[in-house]
Symmetry: C2
Amino acid sequence: MTSRKIVCLTEGHSEPHAGKTAANVIRYRREEVVAMLDSTQVGKNSRDLFAVTTGEPVPVIANLDEAPSANTLLLGIAPPGGKIPASWRKIILQAIGRKMDVVSGLHDFLNNDAEFKQAATAAGVKLVDVRSNSEKSIARRKGLRPDCLRVHTVGHDCSIGKMVVSVEVTNGLKKKGWDAKFIATGQTGIMIEGDGLPIDCIVADFVSGAAEKMVLEHQHHQILLVEGQGSLVHPSYSGVTLSLLHGCAPQALILCYEIGRDTVTGVESVKIPPLAEIKKMFELMANIHQSCQVIGIAINSRRVDAAAAAAERARVKAEFGLPACDVLRDGPDELVDAVIAFHEQGGWHSP
Amino acid sequence: MTSRKIVCLTEGHSEPHAGKTAANVIRYRREEVVAMLDSTQVGKNSRDLFAVTTGEPVPVIANLDEAPSANTLLLGIAPPGGKIPASWRKIILQAIGRKMDVVSGLHDFLNNDAEFKQAATAAGVKLVDVRSNSEKSIARRKGLRPDCLRVHTVGHDCSIGKMVVSVEVTNGLKKKGWDAKFIATGQTGIMIEGDGLPIDCIVADFVSGAAEKMVLEHQHHQILLVEGQGSLVHPSYSGVTLSLLHGCAPQALILCYEIGRDTVTGVESVKIPPLAEIKKMFELMANIHQSCQVIGIAINSRRVDAAAAAAERARVKAEFGLPACDVLRDGPDELVDAVIAFHEQGGWHSP
């Protein structure tokens, strides 16, 4: 099988929030990415645009002709509602014409689009819709291994870095010799990990069943880091969050938040409650079926400087009496150690 | 348009829990039902099998030949997972052969079944999948009318009568001259009301958006009674429950429970917490975005006798200091009056 040579398409959307799919594929699959495509940002690179500092920066190109070796176009954005921007159609068709596969995590499936489908068939390329699924399992709470520690990242809003925290803590645990596995539940996580299920695109009745299925499949590992989605206080996505929480049945939570995020993304009329209330809500809902507690706090401090980030970190550690860090700014060690300490202290083994 | 003459298919499943779709179509659409089909229960009728006491009992037949005037076969069960029982295939094909339309509320769509589809096309009949939808709205919390009172039925488990309570209270309000509307969110409710959306069969990200959409569409009525689904404590369906709660943004809740229901339906290892805890959980989650309170309690007392039901009703009224009744045993008046009192007292008008 030919290895992937990816162009990340972010045309008009090359900033860290809108382009989080591209940013994280570049962060964790750097070796597969040859360029970013955004004709409005030519001359810049992934470091300038996304502040991704791992590996060599990825150059921005204006046209697919500039990346003749590329064999895959990856749609690099995650807009609410998951629609394909109208202006992207001709770029996608161009890529198909160049015999490139197209990978998408959007709710609008490429394979449901007659024009794309026809072009892809003619060119003999694949249209990969990462969110497409036909999951129909119901959560049964049977067969969960008591010796597998399930850690779940939850947060005060969507798009605050729960996936990044899950990946960084998983990698940190592996470096220290633990058998840990990242359980991807969103399109970007799936593109990075190569497996997982797109929780938010499953028929509602079967979301917790899908989360449970992933846990059952991978619980031979010592520790699972299950990527969270949305937030219990987000009026549009709270149900996805709760299905996932109850489906993966965690014994431990890492609570994620972003400094300066005061209102819910996409529903700016809704204020986000204080973090202490969010923590109580998650612990209440997580404890209905088994014992579960928040064991650490992940801070996303991308919008503030180092001094402000350090001050907030000290403040939040004092307020909650818990380990806390920004996994990108500070490294994940404090949270990795919190997971190990919780594992070793025991008492979490009940199903 | 020819009026429907329905045979309710419940073959092998003619009891109130499994056959709740049939029981409620008979309860609220009696004029359209000509027979129940269950060869294992011949000689009995809907009153014997479902304890539905409104209207004349519906006879049970063993074979479609016994209902020559029927033009619609309605699949009358709602099993977890929503699969069509294998033994029903030949009855469905027989109905299609007799030029009957087939109406189904199951997750397994008739229209996705090649054999059914081909037979229906040949016979020129309709296969109606009530749960089929392509909803893709995201909840935005915009445009909610402050003068429309949204009452939502919630409960301690699934299948405890939230739909029946919603319909009975709506009808009770109408009788007293109020402009009330039942908002159906499940397959049976949709079959009864003729509109609504199958909340549990919508892609997870869009469930709250679908609930919001129904509210926006019908908020010219004075009062909406939004049918609840599942329960916040049901590990398989809690996310559906929360999406619906946050999507329909109620100012008032009616808390439903069944006497003697101790464990979660389908996941019997999970104990249902005490009703007072359930009430706290719903009020906590409902109050994140606006003020909302439980204004009455609906008791399902079908498993106990009149004396035990009366004793429980007195007990629960004393415990919670709220109106409480079994809408089928006692009539819905106490809950209807609670809704009217809440409406008239005011203070709920904030969005």
